[in-house]
């Protein structure tokens, strides 16, 4: 299929019909939702699946022999299989359901790394990480004397595999890198990073909270050790995420939370633990949310994802071109092959003032540090304004953004 054919294989305007919220108005103006990197809206299929399931088939999973419990368990495990397929993991027992991307990363920090960490051991991470892929490692610094090694990005926001490799030393115990930055849109050269790290015997965790939404992920091809995703950015529900971990790692890891379902046997004196993935899923899991996540992945997978990616890149290119006219607007992050995230500083205008004015024009963008303060420091800013695009955004929404920016300039400039 040619690149052109791929573009026509996805129609964002038709897709919008499935997202009721996109048809609404705010302050009497059509909503232009460009805060997708914070969270995506959910298609009708996801909401229907959750509701239908809760209304017709719901019970707690795993522990019951009755009909509804069996049905629920089947749906829950089918969702696990859907995640496996989505990431192309070898086996479903390499998929652990979590409450979100943040918990997935914390799980690796606490159950994989913490037990074997010596003071002075190093963790390599990049300056473009989200706080969710920073603070868990800071915990290990605070509590166990780990050393954080920071990999810088280029001025255009690009992440260089050589820079990552250079940061890996004999004491490095893990490389933790965002697949895609939520501010810069930079896509890390993950496969090459894994290759170099493995040559030095160092495992790699990817924070795929953004990456999995916009890239096609194949954990086997990447040969990556851990990959974290979060449901609500994948057009799925809140309250759920997942961790992919190589089976050998998961098998060797200690449990995370303690409670029901993750045990083998409990007595007054001792406790033994279940095999993965159950070992890491203490308590009643997010069952209805798993059903919603499966629906979201089915929704995504039914699309021509290459075509969606092309559409998103087109939106970014169009937006980038369109804001050129504003000489007061300075882009932050413009690496080759980046995802559809437009972050910028506005001279003489604070991001929050800008976002407030855009909001009243119906245009929802984010202003702030985007949970990436280390990156803000790197670029010498306190905050940025960010427009982030999803599959359902259109060029005319980019036009609306541009018009709103012009208005903001008139008010504040």
């Amino acid at each position: 299929m040619s690149a052109h054919a791929k573009i026509t294989a996805f129609d964002p305007v038709a897709a919008r019909a499935g997202f009721a919220i996109l048809g609404r108005e705010v302050y009497g103006r059509p909503l232009v939702y460009l805060d997708n990197a914070a969270s995506a809206q959910k298609p009708r299929q996801v909401l229907d699946a959750m509701r239908d399931f809760a209304q017709d088939e719901y019970a707690n999973v795993h522990r019951g022999v009755h009909y509804l419990s069996a049905a629920s368990t089947e749906r829950y495990e089918s969702a696990r299989e859907a995640v496996r397929r989505f990431l192309n993991a070898r086996a479903a027992d390499e998929i652990v359901f979590t409450k979100g991307g943040t918990e997935a990363i914390n799980l690796v920090a606490a159950s994989f790394l913490a037990p074997k960490l010596q003071p002075g051991d190093e963790i390599v991470l990049s300056v473009m990480e989200h706080h969710s892929n920073i603070v868990p490692w800071h915990f290990l610094r605070e509590r166990q004397g780990a050393v954080l090694k920071w990999v810088d990005v280029g001025d255009d926001g690009s992440l260089d595999v050589e820079a990552v490799e250079a940061a890996i030393g004999p004491k490095t115990k893990l490389v933790a890198i965002a697949h895609m930055s939520n501010v810069l849109g930079t896509v890390a050269p993950l496969k090459e990073i894994v290759k170099r790290a493995h040559e030095k015997g160092v495992p790699v965790l990817a924070d795929g909270c953004q990456g999995a939404v916009h890239e096609i992920v194949d954990v086997q091809d990447l040969d990556i050790d851990f990959y974290a995703i979060t449901g609500h950015k994948l057009y799925g529900p809140t309250g759920i995420g997942a961790l992919y971990g190589k089976r050998a790692h998961l098998k060797a890891m200690r449990p995370y939370n303690g409670g029901g379902e993750m045990i083998r046997e409990v007595t007054r004196e001792v406790v033994t633990y279940a095999d993965p993935p159950a070992r890491f899923e203490a308590g009643t899991p997010p069952i209805i949310e798993a059903v919603g996540l499966e629906a979201a992945l089915a929704y995504l997978s039914a699309l021509d994802r290459e075509a969606v990616a092309t559409h998103e890149r087109d939106l970014y290119a169009y937006a980038r071109e369109s804001v050129r006219r504003f000489n007061w607007l300075k882009l932050i992050g413009d690496a080759p092959g980046k995802g559809a995230i437009l972050s910028f500083e506005a001279e003489g205008m604070h991001a929050h003032d800008l976002a407030t004015i855009l909001d009243r024009e119906g245009v929802a963008v984010r202003a702030g540090h985007h949970c990436a303060q280390v990156l803000m420091d790197r670029f010498g800013v306190i905050s940025t304004t960010r427009a982030s695009f999803a599959l359902y955004n259109t060029r005319s929404e980019v036009d609306a953004l541009v018009a709103a920016l012009a208005k903001a300039q008139k008010i504040l400039g």
Partner: protein
């Protein structure tokens, strides 16, 4: 243009934010306070001098922030210089009511008039923290307490 936006970014606010009054460090300040808004990363530092009679003789501020927070800090210095700590306390309480759109009982007419420009914030609940940052910092500086944050 949206009326509430016009109200928020009215000329006096933009003037204050572009040309803030009493901006800079204050040598020999008797009290200093630092404020931080974790939402956006903005910071403010408040310097003030209180004389032996408990009257605030001078206030200055430093820091970067949005138009709302800068204007609010600037207006605050104008409003509080020359007041006693007790008067300042009352005025601060009144201001908090004002920006939240509540009945601002504690304000004298001239104070209300002076601060009225900030009332537009009440239509923007997400921005109230921007307006109150300097004031919370002022309060904690006066009380000699910790760094304030606008939460």
């Amino acid at each position: 243009m949206d009326d509430s936006l016009r109200e928020l970014y009215q000329e006096v606010i933009l003037d204050h934010s572009r040309h803030p009054h009493h901006y800079g460090a204050l040598e020999g300040a008797s009290h200093v306070g630092e404020g931080y808004n974790p939402l956006c990363g903005d910071r403010v530092k408040i310097y003030l001098t209180v004389d032996s009679g408990g009257r605030i003789t001078n206030i200055t501020f430093e820091g970067k922030g949005c138009a709302i927070s800068q204007a609010s800090a600037s207006l605050m210095t104008d409003a509080l210089i020359g007041r006693t700590a007790a008067e300042a306390e009352r005025l601060m309480g009144g201001f908090l009511h004002l920006v939240k759109g509540e009945e601002a009982g504690g304000l004298a007419d001239e104070d209300r008039e002076r601060l009225e420009a900030m009332a537009g914030v009440s239509a923007f609940p997400m921005r109230v923290k921007c307006a109150t940052l300097a004031w919370h910092t002022m309060k904690s500086a006066l009380e000699g307490g910790d760094a304030a944050k606008s939460e």
